[in-house]
Symmetry: C2
Subunit: 600 residues, 2 copies
């Protein structure tokens, strides 16, 4: 027997379940720490997709509990449309099975792998089958299944199937137990926080060991579910075309019109003409050579870009800004939704936001939030094309330091929405380098960068102006007093000078000989009232104008006055004290305010 | 009909071919540029693996030719054992089919996906079937196949099957045509160069358009093919154990001894005892609860690490250094093969090398060469755990600048050999972050870093010494002359002083008043002869000692003298000229040499 014969005996078909069992890190199950996040992510993706299809406001419950030793029980429950009993074993017990793979529309799940990978991981690490309860409506009973995957055939194994009591009228509940740890709890909560930012219509409740968390919905508007579209004639390759042709019973013209997006009768006829083919011939009669001519002709005819409004569901600039502001206080934030575009026939859209200052950490790399089809990406930031684009931009142009990534109190959010997000692996952690997508991400960030630059230079300018104004207001009275002393005259009224130099609301606190005097001079044309906050250890009990509000907090006393202003008005209060602490004016645009504190 | 019923109608099984057709970037077919490299890589991996199994010195031919427009024909032909005709359609026409997936041993191919992905890509982009010729021995005919993949079933479609004439007595030839470009030609040649470095026993001939390249073998020793091992009892999970048990006809004791690496009778009995199970019970009779007790017991008993010498095939320190030196001239190079280790029951081994100086570019990031199971990794450097480890090391400790990656004339090679290399995706571009592997890579590089540091500080020290010596030799004659002038005596002989200060071979060139004098003084205990190279515009026709060799090259004349030396010897030549240019001594250890050029 030849060596080839011997080798042949070792040749074997590998089931996709075997493949992913051996390569479980490809599915995001590379460590016990990650297992929980990956499972929650896949289950929540499914729940949100299902609720979107059913036009239901999602109400999702997540329970994570240690049951023994290293074994955790993960429960994810939703109020979606439910799954018919016959489908349940396949949805959870077969890798590469699903409803969204063949549709050209934006959805969170695309591959038909996610949740069954968690089932596989459970049976691999604990041998415990997965329990699923699902109900499709109040009129039907709920069904309870215990499921495993037959690894060598990648077919579901049903260990138990029975009707069950369940208090929800529709929805699905999956319970999975595997070896894991809760070491990445913070990351899990971050993932849920960001999920809730981009899915403001979802309520997500979490019970984790003994703690409970609620991510409440902030919008009662159901997101419109994207609708599938036909493939675009410029994004199709010969292999796909051949298969579409085999199944077609149409004439060539109808095949083109019905099978492709943006192809009308006129375009179809032009394609037939260029290919030298009769419009009325049955499409399935095309010879391989004719198929190739047709494909070439299809590329040559101009066709508008694929329709995107129906198949994509961007978050929107307003909602991104709102979501970010809810979570993080920043001085500047702006978002951009780019026009839709296409790569290899797949429509996609890039959204981005930049935040600056406020409570963002002033040092270290910018914080990067990556999203794909409304799902936060939590792992493999370094491998992601989004990160690559961010590092590839010259941030110094926009006044931001940079060492690889930009540095400083900066937050960068990028969302890629597509009918087919090109991930670098099945675990959907990072977006692959696709030139068309990278271009859009870069453009979005550059636009925002320019806005940020404008903000920063205006801020620097107004800071400069304010510094100057403060200096002037501090020094002019001193000069006036000195001059008065020399010429032996009473100090002159300097307010017209101040008013001339700048049109500001000047608040001046002078502490001298155990006396505090606060003066508010309005050189602006604003009128109404402002609120003065004076926070210092002084109680100001003998104040010439009684504070409207006063409260002590440890060593500090907060004194608040409503100060009426009108053009040219001067308001003044005096009390016995040592001054210090802080002085604040509210109720007028910050750009008018100049505060001077003189401790003489 | 409920929504769930409607959704159910869209549910479908997805064939693995459909999955990878849609996600072809996961297989390394994300762009036409990459297609050729990925295909060559997969085919060459298969050829090298097959030759290794057959104990044949690989003789591989690669042909890449543009056939029309954007279509390229890629041919890879080897002298391996060949494939029996019945297997050919499956090996090339079915994803997830192969002989190496289920074996625990190091091999280049592991997944049974690679080459069939190229077949898929061809049929997708050009619709042209793949042609395979294979022959298993001189006594059998060669067979020729035309193959495609039926995408919806992931089964091979045989378009033609016939006996063929072929001049090789054994081997396989695959011819694939797809849309591509040769834009990444340099990267392809780099890939082949590095392949040849780590496979010194292979001859690889390439014809690319009109150019031919040969990577000749430098070793006639066949690499021993790694032998498969049994799984290690500490690396097994409950799912795998269950499946092994189902197929077993042994008693529990024999099941453990025969089924696992490093388990002898004594260890097996200890496992049974701890699990509270009888050694002689048939393994297949174990209840699920008993299976779990057995697994726990298996983890508790101490078992030596898995055997690695048979299943792994490291390159070896000597061969790595030799391979690198063949390709790149460097001042320092050192390699390290770490002891074998284990992650999740998979044996692995890390090898690394560091090169410094020489012809390496003095600026920019260090050059990184990554290998896995003797295959160079050419894409996704940033996503690779190897790169992460390199960036994670504090190179400043070793005298190397760093900004993320180390900077300077530095080359870093890392090879990971394992029975199951954990790649981040099916395209096998980058190694996933596995703590055990990262630890070994870091340790290997730190060891080499310390060596590099020693080299650098020795080099700096000898540089310093040389600088000092040169300064002394330059200044002492000046001082002597000055002193002689002052005291009005002839200049003293300073050689004893120089000899006392340092034991060097001092070459001094003095240019004064249109006369050049070169003196070689030997203060060392070396004897024999050295070669003096004097390169300047001077022709030295009137030299007091005639050069042994003289040649003009444009404006420069190279003059070479053999200079006899013995301890204390002085050799001197004079000629008319303007000096300048360079002066070099060869034939004696560099550490003895001091060269002084005085232009008075």
């Amino acid at each position: 027997m030849s060596l080839a014969d011997e080798l042949a005996k070792k040749q074997r078909s590998i089931s996709v379940a075997e493949f992913f069992e051996k390569n479980k890190h490809l599915l995001g199950f590379d460590s016990p720490v990650r297992g929980i996040i990956t499972t929650v992510k896949e289950a929540v993706d499914n729940s949100l997709d299902a609720c979107e299809e059913a036009m239901v406001l999602p109400d999702i419950f997540i329970g994570i509990k240690k049951v023994s030793g290293e074994v955790y029980r993960i429960i994810v429950e939703d109020n979606g449309p439910g799954i018919v009993p016959d489908q349940i074993p396949y949805v959870f017990g077969k890798l590469l099975y699903g409803s969204r793979f063949h549709q050209i529309k934006q959805s969170r799940g695309q591959q038909g792998i996610g949740i069954s990978a968690a089932v596989l991981y459970a049976q691999l690490t604990t041998g415990i089958p997965t329990t699923v309860i699902s109900r499709t409506g109040a009129a039907t009973p709920a069904w309870r299944f215990e499921i495993q995957i037959d690894i060598e055939s990648n077919e579901p194994e049903i260990l138990r199937r029975e009707e069950a009591e369940w208090d929800r009228t529709h929805g699905t509940r999956v319970q999975i137990e595997f070896r894991s740890t809760l070491a990445a709890k913070k990351r899990l909560l971050d993932y849920l926080k960001y999920t809730s930012i981009v899915n403001p219509h979802a309520r997500i409740r979490v019970e984790m060991d003994d703690e409970a968390f609620l991510f409440e919905r902030v919008s009662d508007e159901v997101i419109a579910c994207p609708e599938p579209i036909q493939p675009h004639p410029h994004g199709i390759e010969i292999g796909n075309l051949k298969r579409m042709i085999v199944y077609s019973e149409d004439s060539l013209e109808d095949f083109l019109v019905n099978g492709f997006a943006r192809v009308g009768t006129k375009t179809a006829r032009e394609m037939c003409r260029l290919a030298g083919l009769a419009c009325e011939m049955p499409a399935r009669n095309l010879t391989p050579a004719q198929q190739k001519s047709l494909l070439d002709a299809m590329q040559q005819v101009k066709v508008p870009a694929p329709p995107t409004t129906q198949c994509l569901s961007p978050i929107g600039e307003a909602l991104i800004v709102q979501g970010l502001e809810k979570e993080i206080q920043m001085d500047f934030v702006s978002a951009r939704t780019r026009p839709s575009s296409v790569y290899s026939g797949n429509p996609f859209m890039v959204e981005a936001a930049i935040g600056y200052g406020g409570k963002l950490p002033p040092e270290g790399n910018a914080q990067i939030l990556r999203f794909a089809n409304r799902v936060p990406l939590v792992y493999q930031q370094g491998a992601c094309a989004i990160t690559g684009c961010i590092a590839g931009i010259n941030w110094k142009t926009y006044g931001i330091s940079q060492s690889g990534l930009p540095i400083g109190p900066l937050l960068i959010l990028v969302h890629i929405a597509s009918t087919n997000v090109p991930f670098t692996s099945e675990s959907k952690d990072a977006v692959a380098s696709i030139p068309e997508i990278e271009k859009e991400v870069t453009l979005a960030l550059q636009e925002l960068g320019r806005e940020l630059k404008t903000y920063l230079s205006r801020r620097d300018k107004s800071r400069l102006q304010e510094d100057r104004a403060r200096a002037v207001c501090a020094i002019i009275p001193e000069i006036a007093a000195k001059v008065a002393e020399i010429v032996e005259l009473p100090p002159p009224d300097i307010s017209p000078i101040e008013g001339k130099i700048m049109r500001k609301l000047v608040t001046r606190r002078e502490t001298r000989d155990g006396k505090v005097a606060i003066e508010v001079r309005n050189y602006t044309d604003q009128k109404g009232a402002v609120t003065l906050y004076d926070i210092s250890p002084d109680t100001a009990e003998d104040a010439t104008i009684r504070p409207d509000f006063s409260s002590r907090m440890e060593q500090e006393v907060t004194k608040v006055w409503q100060v009426p202003i009108e053009p040219g008005s001067v308001w003044r209060v005096e009390y016995t004290g040592a001054g210090g602490g802080s002085l604040d004016i509210r109720g007028i645009d910050q750009k008018y305010i100049v505060t001077v504190d003189l401790d003489v």
